[in-house]
Amino acid sequence: MTDTKTSEPGFNPGRRSALMMMGAAGATSLVLPSMFGRDAAFAANAKADGKLVLAFSQEPTNFNPFMPHIEVDEGMYYALYDTLFDFDPAGNFFPVLAAEVPTVANGGISADGLSWKIKLKEGVKWHDGKPLTAEDVKFSLELPLDPNLRVMRTTGYKLLKDITVTSPTELTWTMTKPFAPMSAVLASTWIIPKHAFEGVADKNTAPFNNAPIGTGPFKWKERMAGDHIELEANADYHMDGPFFKTLIVKYIPDLNVMYTQFKSGDVDVVGLQWITPDHYAEAKDLPGKTVEIAGTGTFESFGLNMMRPQFQDLAVRQALYAAIDKTSIIDALYYGIPRPTETYMPQQSAYYNDALPKHEFNIAKANKLLDDAGWKKGTDGIREKDGVKLSFTNSTTAGNHLREQVQQFLQQSFKDIGVEMKISNLPPAVMWGEYWMKSQFDTVIVGLNVLMGADPDTSDYFMSTASPARGGAGQNNFCYQSAEVDALLKKGGETFVPEDRKAIYRKIQEVIRNDLPFLPMFQYAVCKGRKTSVTGPTPNVNNRIDSWNIRDWKI
């Protein structure tokens, strides 16, 4: 499991924004020719020879994309299956199985967002040679509602009704309400073959689940549990590529070992959990290897429980933020790799607000803020006001040494401003269970990814009604409440003009930056490594796994 609490590519019920994203996709198809499919006959000519070893530090074990799975499993889905369309690094859609990305402009989506029409590419074949048809897409879209299947999520799918196959390559549906994030849902819906489940009594144990059949660039060959999975090139792939014959997905649980095998040449591309920061200085000078820092969608923050009396006063939150020496933390503990941030939005996102007030480490200013707000030091040196002491616990994953060092560092800084921070760390299963989900903490150090794909909607995390501790449903575990943000999130979900939307989400970031329900520290960056001869691996903050474009990789 990743130590930071990155969200698995899941779907937030509140995302209503992707409709407009669809509009942008049409334009991008002109500038990203390599990502778009050509005729199958053309693809069959692609040079497919050789072998590539991609290493992950977690083991992919779930091969049915609709069943519960973790991040690393999706690394396999991108090789085995296809979605109708997907996100490129700029956050635009490009078609995969769909002949074109449905938009309001091209008539794929009705103006009210309720009627959808999908046209599939012609001539796409499953790995077993059978043709892909609209029936397979219908089957896949209906699968999440199968009461007997253990499914990962139903968000979006449960709003679909009247899915109708109008021709072997066309289908339509209506939605019970406008739901713009549907396109983002579809960008993570890997289409699986209907015929693989015919006559299967229990889909949970279907043979397909351990011998998958897809339309993707690579075909299933074999799996050696606990060791590796071997895939081979799909010669009939409907897009450009694949460009090598054998893909080995190697499971290497220890990151030191993974790095050693990268150095020795046994591993061509270092995937999920990548090269550890302490190896970066050495790794970047390795001959024949390309090692790059890539920003991720995860940001590290000092999260506050806004229901606690200590944090009701904005001056306290501002003072705590001013007492955090971000530069020292990033440079001394994280090897200078992550980038300081003021927001939850990745700096690569089109919605990133670059004009937020810059954090300044200033103990004197922090003390003044608290003095001015009337927080006076008691005999024990801890500030107090109206019977509330500025004392709280801070929790994070026990055993995460970097965070434990950050805590000790912050403990000292906070002491300098008359604030007592006690450290109380918990094992991951306890920390990120009810303790986190039901906001039983005072403060946490947490790495969060609050976005799904390129969509800027964060209703699930910042809407007042999304806090389980206040009886809501969602992940607003900071228990943040802001009428202004609520209204903006709602408006953003209903706005379809791109520039207007950008303004709304920039504003949301500004309000949250000023309210400080969490003290943003840095945006995570990871150290990706590959053999220099390998081309294609491209960071994509909108897709959470390295192999999102494995069809384009060359060795």
Binding site: E59, T246, Q261, M452
Partner: protein, 316 residues
């Protein structure tokens, strides 16, 4: 003899039952659970988690779950992994093969080298060889396997390029030579510690025998040195080694977690750690039962063999 074996069998069965009950209870009480890995996904609601738990039968009362598992176990159905849905016995079988290759090789190396060193050290007590081997054994026993493994990889793979840096075989090759090349480093690392263990035990056991009256008698009878060495000294010194071997059987098949991790060897040790990490109860229980059975078999076999080869011991 048969009565003795039968008695031990029933004892073992009761023990297994107790082990399984304790194992099952402790596992189920541990925080987290098999669904906690999915709980972090946005959009994964508590409602959905509860539904999956119900589908998997995870929220039934603990005794019901236990007896359900047990009743399947006695019919030979060890359940399916929560992670990949494969039958538990299939998974254990796959990993057991990898472990057997590695542990088998290193054990053969360790036992043959270790006992030889032990005998020679005992016979040439306080010689340069004895002192050297004693120092070597102390060093070998103190080196963390993890570190030694990485050092071995650094020199033999990265610097010299003689052996691969890990893995059991090259995918797509799989020839005997390929297996052997991959086996050398991890087997060597594992054997190093075991050689030390076996040589120390064997040295002590040999010393105990060498000073016995019957050895002096054998010498007085004018038996040849070779006959005294192999028949009287080694033969008797090996008796406690059988017990040691019996105790090592579960370790042999349980895998070597650290070495398996450093050399990315898909053996039983890593399977156990992974399954624990993901709360894959059926697999963890399967491994627990397998190792419990191996401990019992190992001990029983050692007792029977010792009784068979040592006339001083009679089983009642």
């Amino acid at each position: 003899m048969l009565r003795y074996v039968l008695g031990r069998f029933w004892q073992s069965l009761v023990l297994l039952l107790i082990v399984s009950f304790i194992g099952f209870t402790v596992l189920s009480l541990a925080p987290g659970g098999p669904l906690s890995q999915f709980a972090l996904s946005p959009g994964m609601t508590q409602e959905q988690l509860d539904k999956i738990a119900t589908q998997m039968g995870l929220n039934r009362p603990l005794p019901v779950q236990y007896f359900d598992w047990l009743s399947h176990l006695v019919t030979g159905d060890w359940g399916r992994s929560y992670r990949d849905g494969q039958p538990v016995l299939t998974i254990i079988g796959q990993h057991l093969f990898a472990t057997l290759i590695l542990m088998g090789t290193s054990t053969v190396l360790a036992v043959s080298l270790g006992t030889t060193i032990g005998i020679v050290s005992a016979l040439r007590r306080r010689s340069v060889f004895d002192y050297t081997m004693t120092v070597f054994a102390m060093i070998a026993l103190s080196i963390p396997t993890f570190w030694f493994g990485l050092v071995a990889i650094y020199f033999f793979s990265l610097k010299l390029g003689w052996f691969p840096a890990g893995n059991m075989f090259t995918v797509g090759d799989g020839s005997l030579l390929d297996y052997v090349r991959h086996l050398v480093l991890p087997a060597m690392v594992l054997a190093l510690v075991d050689v030390a263990v076996w040589s120390r035990y064997m040295r002590t056991a040999t010393l105990n025998v060498v000073n016995q009256d019957f050895i002096r008698t054998a010498r007085a009878k004018g038996l040849s040195r070779t006959r005294i060495l192999f028949r009287h000294i080694v033969g008797n010194a090996l008796v406690p080694m059988v017990t040691l071997a019996g105790l090592q059987l579960p370790a042999l098949l349980g895998g070597a977690l650290v070495t398996e991790t450093v050399f990315t060897w898909p053996g039983m040790g890593r399977l156990f750690l992974d399954s624990l990490g993901y709360s894959d109860y059926p697999v963890v229980m399967g491994l627990l039962m397998t190792s419990a059975i191996l401990v019992l078999i190992g001990n029983l076999a050692a007792d029977l063999i010792v009784a068979a080869i040592d006339p001083r011991i009679r089983l009642e």
